[in-house]
Amino acid sequence: MRTWAAAVVALLLAAALAGCSGVRQGSASSLDQAGSAVRTARLAVELDARGRSTHPVTATALDDALTKASQAQSGIAALGASTRVNRRIRDEAARAIDDAVRLLADARDAVDAGRAPAADWDRVEAELARATVATGEAP
């Protein structure tokens, strides 16, 4: 009986650790994906502003970046978090990614309307970086 109990406790512990690691990995991967999308969009917009790229290329790059960031958003929304720490990790990452998606959507709308996007790239990139660090540092 004692052996069975020990096995059940070990299994529960392993499942909890796996769940923790799953949320951590899932959040980190979604943050990476969103971060790469934001940096791509920033590069595309900067090249356009310097007259080095064409409107269709910039618009397509922004569209693609928005798609990738939205996929990251769906990915993180699908993560089930059963512990308080996991929920905190996931929610912080989700907030940063939501912000990135909003920024990319605004930038795409501005480019579609023929305006220069007034995007605060530094702030969103810093938020994503902060969430990534928090994901790695959580106990």
Binding site: S36, R39, T40, G51, R52, P56, V57, A61, K68
Partner: protein
């Protein structure tokens, strides 16, 4: 002079024919994540495709038969059918990726969503296969594909630290943040993108289409030995552009639009225009080759009348197969699947299917009944056997690596 022109044209065609959506995407993904540390794979892949294309061209010229006629004859109907199914499905997957690639390239020129371009692209491919002469089709797409030379020019315009690039290429380190598993997964993908089976179906069937004889072998050898290595250099240039601009900014390539950003930075709008022309030509040329290969594999296996040298009414089932292939490609793309993802999987599955076509060609190239005095020499056989081992290792390792790394995620 005429001969020189023919050689130059053949070389240009080989360069244009080597690069397709698989090379464009895979080399940029690799460049943005691994820098030039997988450059050695391009070298291995280029030597391999030169060997493979040269052997299959020689087999076609000596025996008058194309790859799948020989596969059925040599392996028998049952083993041949298994080979046919695998090769046909992978060819169809590559065709889907190429049609999607045309649509993505046209989006970069127009801002119009790729969904609207897919039927146009598929119709264009069908029309050219139906109406345009073989050599004209091959030469025009090959020469326009040369616009991709802009990537080699861009490397110089980006003023790289050459010693750092050389160190990456020669020491082949696994970059920080990447695992050995993803390194080897992308090594297999890059190898698969260089040695795509359709290139060989097309090359050997083209030899029959153009009625090659043994007299044409010298020119074909020159085309292959100059054209494919130059195509390989362009692949390295694509990787270098991504390594110089995207890797330092921690941008991972997941779309074709990202492949253009280093070009915009290096050469501005003119360079971007050249690159888009090159994208359209390379993907359109490869869609023609894979579309034709869809017909070649099935028609040659079942002994149907085939080839563009015959009027479509004289090779009806061959043309019908191509049409059905294009309709399936459109149907798959209409589901909203990302063509870049189809491409990423197609290059890995190409590596898996490669032994199925490589081994029969290697066997027949050594068979005096087919080849007469033109059987493989000793050096070709040694290199051929080394490549057989490499191809088998890549094919066996591909699926475990795909599962272990989550397809290189």
């Amino acid at each position: 002079m005429k001969g020189l022109f023919a050689v130059a044209l053949g070389v240009l065609t080989a360069i244009g024919g080597f690069l397709d959506i698989g090379d464009l995407v895979t080399s940029s993904v690799v460049g943005s994540r691994f820098g030039l540390s997988l450059a050695w794979v391009v070298v291995v892949g280029v030597v391999g495709i030169c060997l493979f294309a040269q052997m299959s061209g020689r087999v076609a010229a000596a025996s008058g038969r194309a790859t799948f006629e020989i596969i059925r004859e040599r392996l028998g109907p049952r083993a041949g059918a298994a080979n046919l199914i695998a090769s046909f499905l992978i060819n169809l997957m590559t065709l889907t990726a190429e049609v999607g690639g045309i649509a993505l390239s046209l989006q970069l020129a127009s801002s119009v969503a790729p969904g609207a371009w897919i039927p146009v692209a598929a119709f264009g491919v069908w029309l050219v296969i139906w109406r345009v002469k073989y050599d004209l089709m091959e030469n025009v797409t090959g020469m326009l594909g040369l616009a991709l030379v802009v990537f080699a020019v861009a490397v110089f315009l980006l003023h790289p630290d050459w010693s750092s690039l050389a160190t990456q290429a020669l020491t082949s380190p696994v970059p920080a943040g990447e695992s050995a598993g993803t390194y080897w997964y992308y090594a297999v993908a890059l190898f698969g993108s260089a040695m795509t089976p359709y290139e060989v179906f097309f090359f050997s069937s083209g030899a029959v289409e153009e009625k090659w004889t043994l007299k044409d072998l010298a020119q074909s050898r020159l085309n292959v030995l100059v054209g494919f290595p130059l195509g390989g250099l362009l692949t390295l240039a694509l990787a270098a552009c991504a390594a110089l601009v995207l890797m330092p900014q921690n941008v991972e390539v997941t779309s074709l639009s990202q492949v253009l950003l280093p070009i915009a930075q290096a050469g501005g709008k003119l360079a971007v225009a050249f690159a888009i022309v090159g994208f359209v030509a390379a993907t359109f040329g490869a869609a023609l080759e894979t579309g034709l290969s869809t017909g070649y594999t099935l028609a040659q296996f079942f002994g149907w009348s085939w080839g563009k040298f015959r009027r479509p009414t004289r090779a009806a089932r061959f043309h019908l197969t191509i049409m059905i292939g294009l309709v399936i490609a459109m149907g798959v793309l209409a589901t909203g699947v990302d063509p870049v993802q189809v491409t990423e999987y197609s290059v890995v599955f190409s590596a898996i299917a490669l032994p199925l076509t490589y081994l029969p060609i290697l066997i027949v190239a050594n068979d005096p009944e087919y080849m007469g005095e033109h059987v493989n020499g000793r050096i070709t056989n040694v290199v051929g056997m080394v490549y057989l081992v490499i191809i088998l290792v890549a094919a066996i390792a591909a699926i475990p690596l795909m599962i272990a790394t989550g397809a290189g995620a």
